[in-house]
Symmetry: C2
């Protein structure tokens, strides 16, 4: 029995929140994380460009020996999952299906609010995935939230004001029974998002796509991994831009130090 090697891909650091949840969940696994930091963010780019970038990254992870891939990036999952699946031989899990599945639980027929990047919203990937489960998704693009998180303003009056504006606009169109965090940066501002919703009288739970995806992958792999040995999971990291910055910023998302990052040139 071989140790499962799981590739985790994101445009930047956000996908490290998925890896963070996976590490204690799948004993004995080895993870290869790739952050395409030279070309981030994907959230405002076209389908063709996001698909090209994501396929290059997925191929790299398969070539490194990954036996399955997690696309821990909402934009790439929304815009390029079919292209990625066509480009590699190994199973590929995106973040959208697990998140919608978790939202669906006990909420059939109700409205869910999806907060996401511009590109994810324009793809309507959440809308379609929700419709297949008889959920009505209202998708709201929140382009300033990633820059605010990256500025470190996670508990800041400006972030709360921006959230009030976005959420007030979204609530004109729905009364959600759940709110889906459709970007791996958003869990870092889950508390102000929940507070802002309460200000508007919405008590709906937040569903974190990173958490939902980690749970799904964990369920699928934990038996296989346990059989491979009960030693703790290991990981290595690749980035397409500054490895120093990846180590520094990435450790906040991962919740532990990142001892080493390898620089990767994907030709862009």
């Amino acid at each position: 029995l071989t140790t499962p090697t799981i590739g985790v891909f994101d445009s930047g650091f956000g996908g490290l929140t998925v890896l963070r949840e996976l590490l204690p969940l799948v004993q004995g696994a080895h993870y290869i994380y790739l952050g395409d930091t030279a070309r981030l963010p994907y959230g405002a780019k076209s389908q063709a460009t996001v698909a090209r970038y994501a396929v290059e990254s997925a191929r790299f992870l398969e070539d490194r020996g990954c036996t399955s891939l997690v696309i821990a990036c909402n934009t790439a999952s929304a815009l390029a999952l079919d292209e990625i699946r066509a480009a590699v031989q190994v199973p590929v899990t995106g973040v959208i299906e697990p998140a919608v599945q978790m939202a669906h639980h006990g909420r059939e027929g109700s409205e869910v609010l999806v907060l996401a990047t511009q590109a994810t919203v324009q793809s309507h990937a959440y809308l379609l995935a929700c419709a297949r489960r008889n959920l009505q998704a209202i998708e709201k693009a929140c382009p300033l939230l990633v820059p605010l998180v990256e500025e470190g303003w996670v508990d800041h009056p400006v972030t709360r004001e921006v959230l009030r504006i976005y959420i007030a606009e979204a609530l004109l169109a729905c009364k959600p029974s759940a709110v889906l965090l459709g970007c791996t940066h958003y869990p870092l501002i889950a508390a102000p998002i929940a507070e802002t919703l309460r200000e508007f009288g919405i008590q709906a739970p937040l569903i974190d796509s990173a958490h939902a995806t980690a749970q799904e992958v964990g369920r699928r792999l934990s038996t296989e991994a346990h059989a491979a040995g009960a030693h703790p999971a290991t990981f290595e990291c690749f980035a397409t831009d500054s490895v120093e910055k990846f180590q520094r910023l990435g450790s906040h998302f991962l919740g532990q130090p990142i001892p080493r990052v390898e620089l990767l040139d994907l030709g862009g």
Copy 2:
């Protein structure tokens, strides 16, 4: 006498504000604009990555027949001007020297405040260029301003609040005699920047690097171009991501419709 063909390069749309000023200034010229929109923004990326991207773009413009290049991007000018000059045979103008030259006029020995991206500030390109002219630069990174402009919040309470925070922090360190807009997105929020400075008792003029650079290039080329013929300047545009988005957003920066944009694959 041949018509001058001037390449104008930016990571995205901001450099179109330089082209906008150049069009009426240099009669008879032809402009080739390249926006590296698939890999924007450059403002938070490493020197090595920005230099690689900028050199690829500069080579493309030289190959298309440009007789001189304008690097209409503060980050690329700050981080990669030497690499670009080494990579091409034609003269290259960046935005930093013209801006500092304009700031210097009548202000020797005084303090100037430079608002710019993270990468531009970390390069200290403005600090060094100012020091060479006996000006003391205080550089302030303003990472949220580009996303706010791109969200279209150019006249918005959140933008004014973010400006108050950044400018208050900067004014702890200086009392500027001029304020340099070290990013081609910032002229679109020149009015709220000036208002915020006045709230803090600062009457210093704003110096726009796009305007300063267009003036400098115009001075150098107008004789040559006039001799080539008194017909209006023409332009063509290339982008590395969605041409539809470039046409739509770019026309706001250019101040006129963009009839056609060609998609360019720089291999990234």
